[in-house]
Amino acid sequence: MPAVSKGDGMRGLAVFISDIRNCKSKEAEIKRINKELANIRSKFKGDKALDGYSKKKYVCKLLFIFLLGHDIDFGHMEAVNLLSSNRYTEKQIGYLFISVLVNSNSELIRLINNAIKNDLASRNPTFMGLALHCIANVGSREMAEAFAGEVPKILVAGDTMDSVKQSAALCLLRLYRTSPDLVPMGDWTSRVVHLLNDQHLGVVTAATSLITTLAQKNPEEFKTSVSLAVSRLSRIVTSASTDLQDYTYYFVPAPWLSVKLLRLLQCYPPPEDPAVRGRLTECLETILNKAQEPPKSKKVQHSNAKNAVLFEAISLIIHHDSEPNLLVRACNQLGQFLQHRETNLRYLALESMCTLASSEFSHEAVKTHIDTVINALKTERDVSVRQRAVDLLYAMCDRSNAQQIVAEMLSYLETADYSIREEIVLKVAILAEKYAVDYAWYVDTILNLIRIAGDYVSEEVWYRVIQIVINRDDVQGYAAKTVFEALQAPACHENLVKVGGYILGEFGNLIAGDPRSSPLVQFNLLHSKFHLCSVPTRALLLSTYIKFVNLFPEVKTTIQDVLRSDSQLKNADVELQQRAVEYLRLSTVASTDILATVLEEMPPFPERESSILAKLKKKKGPSTVTDLEDTKRERSVDVNGGPEPAPASTSAAVGPLPAFAFPNNPCISAGGFEFVCKNNGVLFENQLLQIGLKSEFRQNLGRMFIFYGNKTSTQFLNFTPTLICPDDLQSHILGPSPHRHITKPVDPTVDGGAQVQQVVNIECVSDFTEAPVLNIQFRYGGTFQNVSVQLPITLNKFFQPTEMSSQDFFQRWKQLSNPQQEVQNIFKAKHPMDTEITKAKIIGFGSALLEEVDPNPANFVGAGIIHTKTTQIGCLLRLEPNLQAQMYRLTLRTSKETVSQRLCELLSQQF
């Protein structure tokens, strides 16, 4: 094995480094450096030409001096000269100096690029490697301009050495990151994907990074990488530990490559090809199984490498979020790690479980670990681990465990590290608000927050409690009583004074009947805190006082005396002085009626996103606030008891869909709801034209055959169908150029009595309400005809039925218990209430019809998954007929509010 002794090769350098190390003081070091700089300068300027060795040595010394933190303003030219040396060691020092010291705007860049060009063309793998590393290290735009065309060629050339390919792949990656516009996509891209099959695992390792980055930006172009990555991964994870020889690390086969491949797969949704998908599932299962096997080595390197792959596999499972079995297994595995003796593993398990908690499949499984997590909060020594525990508690919180989690967080807050207090306060405030069933509990929680960690309670938090109390009249009396009691404490936090002042000013009258909290007592209590408070709080209290004047005429004179005192009227602070003067005057001149109007109770606050949540997002950065929090926010809209955002269409869209007006001609819209539960039929018919449909749907894809029939005996001319499609529903026509409009495959002339056919391919990108519009223009006789119809592509077409047991059904039903996830409609039957027809309609709607699930056999229960390109949305439905009243009650629960609404709306029209 190679061994290198101290500074071999360059004795002078070793001596110089020793000298520097022996310097007793900074001054001595600077003196020695200056001496050396003078020496080098004189050598460089000297008449005698320096040989390569000396040049290398001096450039290397300069580099050392620079790395010590001193400026270097010469030697660049000598370094560039070294680049054209034929000796590796000289070239290497030259390139190193340039990589470390030359910035991109240097005038030398032309010379450097020239040298790099020569080395790239040299066919000497060592020199090519140095040149590629230099480009990868500097990565300037100038270099991208010069080499972005050349590097891909080197990468895919058949005769390039493996090690050069590795460097070229990553060098190209660097150029692509700095200047994506300069890296031309071309033939090389498909060949790059095939590097995943390369025999040399080092090449695969480097190429995978490149492909991952390219795939993030151009997913379509690199789609083929998915199956290649899966088969490569499969070969690695199923290999015996000796198969991969050099790439086996402590008995783990190619751990870093496995991690990279798993990351590449995270750029894509689950593979569509069932074979690929099956193979990937097998890989993931193998990885999970291996975690249960006894370790092949006791070394921490072994377990770390193995777990690196395991955690990445879990990330992929979470990313796909489609295999409940894998998700639950992942959760159980992480559960074991929660109690592992390695702190690293406990930390990572907490972190990873946080994301698992947001999957509907594993949320419940995560919740079973609540006690372990709470224990971690109490016992972990590393604050960052405790922080992860807080994050996980926050993520796993729902209505069922909110009280326990909030209580634990509050008690942890008493001893929590200062660094994370504010975040915990925000989280407690959000959870308490989101999951408050009992608003007395909410008020107690926030007051506790202020008591325990008043300094960390930001304005957003106490504003919020006031907004909520004002918007919910059932809690106002309790809030007034509670703040009044809390204010009795001899030392209370100023934030409590603010909340107390505001709430008593609004709702003090609700507790004024009790002699222990009579108006005067309330006032004296608040005023006893007044002088200890800051100016903004005192200003707030003055407003409370004037509100008291309105609420309690009996304390009017007391308050006027306070306002009239010099400390108020002549206060040095302008705001306080102005308030005192104006309030005093108001209380004196205004009649009771005017006072009552001016000082009326605050109107309810308009609902908006919780300002606390916004603050948490800002604090944690958008990347770390998970989707879960967004979905949770959506579900919590009604917390203020304010009107729920009216679902735009539940009540309105009954009857035919709105017609699309076109100037020339009466335009007829058909379609309506009759195609919701069927896929074939006549979409439109008038005296001239008949449009028939046949369609089929699978997962998020669909294909529709449109038949245009000319009912007349005369030709239609310039027959032009056009499809107008909302963004979230991609639709295009099968044919040579898929994204072109519908016109392409249809002959502009349709003979009398003839029928022409057209195919539309549809992809559901995300859930939608608006259907695409088919516009047809043609000439008949002398007149111009224009017809627009909505194509009956509705969200339920992308349903896949799901069979499940009664127990599963009700468990999921309960999980979707947030008010926003449920949409209910009670409506009158428009058709005879026939059981068999209803069943057929539910099946036609796309969901599975679940028998023997509902305890009441008269009810209908269904389940299915809506497939869109980006997500899959689980849907449960229940239809309860009431024969006497000739009414139905339809309830939809899905994980997405808009989906619940739309499905309910569509299905309600069918009965």
Partner: protein, 184 residues
Amino acid sequence: MPLLRLPRRETEREVTGERAEGAAQCLPCLSHFPSSSSSCCPQIRFILIQNRAGKTRLAKWYMQFDDDEKQKLIEEVHAVVTVRDAKHTNFVEFRNFKIIYRRYAGLYFCICVDVNDNNLAYLEAIHNFVEVLNEYFHNVCELDLVFNFYKVYTVVDEMFLAGEIRETSQTKVLKQLLMLQSLE
């Protein structure tokens, strides 16, 4: 002192004691970095090797930083990492990123990556790197890195390039280094 007396990290660390708890207080909250997790950013932002006194033994930057910023980062990393003890994880949140670090004798090997990156993979990448150094320098010690700083860069470039892991096979890396050595 050789870096790799024993490969188990538990035994290499000394407990630094009561200051450790304050670690998180040193964490600056705001980032001066460009925003994270964009595909235009390298996975590894930088690699640092520092000794306990804070002297830098290697600094490899995979993003553009100006010199002042580099100096600030070096100091912050030192402050964040050296207060931690063996009971702590090998990971520290750092601005909007995280440092994965491992201590060998008096040296801290630190890799700064994106918060979403795989902690254990980088932790073992460090160890893999140290084992290569150990073979290459025959029981590597801090002084080897000082006197052969220009060779350490070569080792790094063989194993990490453009902020990505380039080669993980110790055999392949050492073979290549040996070949380069023969070109002296």
